[in-house]
């Protein structure tokens, strides 16, 4: 999933992707963390200690007997957290490209100002 994000960055450029990025990485991190923590806390409501996981087999119409564990939801939260964190890090690195351009542009402006000052 992170690779998908990064491919977008490579293919379309940083500015294009960030105009269209609906869910920010920080939101991924926050919601993932919240989901994981609340899943862990859900067992407190039942009366068991934090993070206790429940497990049972469920018969689904087509798939048949499927194992279901409450830890799956926790893992989904962790997934969101990892996606967000990785994308955030990679975006920070990707921004170096913009920053270098910006720094170069600022440098040019400064030099042209100096030239105007001298002339």
């Amino acid at each position: 999933m992170d690779a998908g994000f990064i491919l977008q960055y490579i293919a379309a450029g940083t500015v294009w992707v960030e105009d269209r990025l609906r869910i920010l990485p920080v939101v991924w991190i926050g919601s993932g963390l919240l989901l994981a923590a609340l899943t862990g806390a859900a067992s407190i409501i039942v009366g068991d200690p934090f993070l206790t996981s429940y497990f049972r087999y469920v018969d689904l119409p087509i798939l048949g007997k499927v194992p279901l564990a409450s830890a799956t939801v926790f893992d989904l939260g962790v997934f969101g957290l990892v996606v967000g964190a990785t994308v955030l890090m990679l975006i920070a690195i990707a921004h170096q490209s913009i920053r270098r351009l910006r720094a170069a542009r600022l440098e040019e402006e400064r030099q042209s100002e100096e030239q105007q000052l001298w002339s």
Partner: protein
Amino acid sequence: MELTLSIAIGVLTGSGVWLILRPRTYQLVIGLSLLSYAVNLFIFSMGRLRVGAAPVLGVDGTGNPADFAGSHSAGAGAHRHRDRFRHNGASSGGTAGRARPHGKRPCRRAGIALMDWTRHLLIVPILLPLVAGAALLLINETRHTLKALVSLISALLLLVGGMALMRIAAGAPDGTGTLSTTYAVADWPAPFAIVLVLDRLSALMLVLTSVVALASLTFSLARWHGAGPHFHSLFQFLLMGLGGAFLTGDLFNLFVFFEITLAAYGLLLHGSGSFRVRSGLHYISINLAASLLFLIGVSLIYGVTGTLNMADLASRLPGLPDEDRVLFEAGAAILGVAFLVKAGMWPLGFWLAPAYTAAAAPVGAIFVVLTKVGVYVLLRLTLLLFGSPAGELTGFGGMVVALPPSSSRHQACSLPRLWAGSPDIACSSRRERCLRLSAWVTPVSCRAR
């Protein structure tokens, strides 16, 4: 095989250290990752190097490093103690009939049990800041007031929870009897579960943390909390790490919470500026190096005793054969060095003064608690593992180690900086300095014994 592995670890460590000492950020990062590879290899080798053995555990349970280390004599005693420990954890909370057959997974009980909320009070100092911090991430950065409100409420609840825990730790009776002071996370039986343990010391530290947190959060409302992104989230995560480190009864879990307190790195950078970035880089790299030492110590101890549960560790210690005891004490000494680095003790605390000086004022205030975690753990471990001889050294002077705070005071010239440094000076009374010095001396003396 031993030779190959040792050479590999040595080469990795050597190049890692060399790269860390280079004055380049990128090389520093690579050096740290090389060091972590070396520590990884070391940890793997702590399960003992064997050819043709079962990958993890054999069907009949062979392959446990503790058995391999030859501590069979300790086995029976440890098992007995373990049963007792589990019994304590499971049934002293006033919920009878919760002791389950050894090693069996809990199954879901029929219906919703009588909700015994006080039993879960122990997880509050960890869970509450976690949820608050995660929720704060979702709130837009422009809504300062809302964020500050959530953060303050969380800190206030932490204070209330800490005080309730203090009552429990003091043995306040609750209708059915004394409340439980252990909490097996995820309901695994005790030596395997990560156990949260409450006693008066940890409750006191929790209350201290939440008081300081509340005060510095209130102070940050004036200006600091708007100076950069995610101040409140990072603050909550830091509180979570502190709460967990004070409550946990498991050495590896302690490591995890220590790493969570590295959220302090983000806080240290809060407000930005090149001085903050520089001292923050020193802070994070030294603390990561200390973490690697921590891992080495923990893996040595695990390799010798086969457990990381502190109570279990203390019970297995007397049955340890002499040749293993040396290794164990070496592990404890390395652990001690790691904690002393984290506590910013005198010869190892060179990172402390710039970090305190650079940090924004409210962050500096919470740093005061952060550095005490190392002292707290040292106190706890030396008393738990090495018993009374460690206590004798407590009166061993107390004149030397006021250096790091006072030097930070000299460097701190502006008023908020002075304020950031001063709580440490204020609380480094003679008694605490005694504690610090004794904490410094004991692991060394234990090793020499």
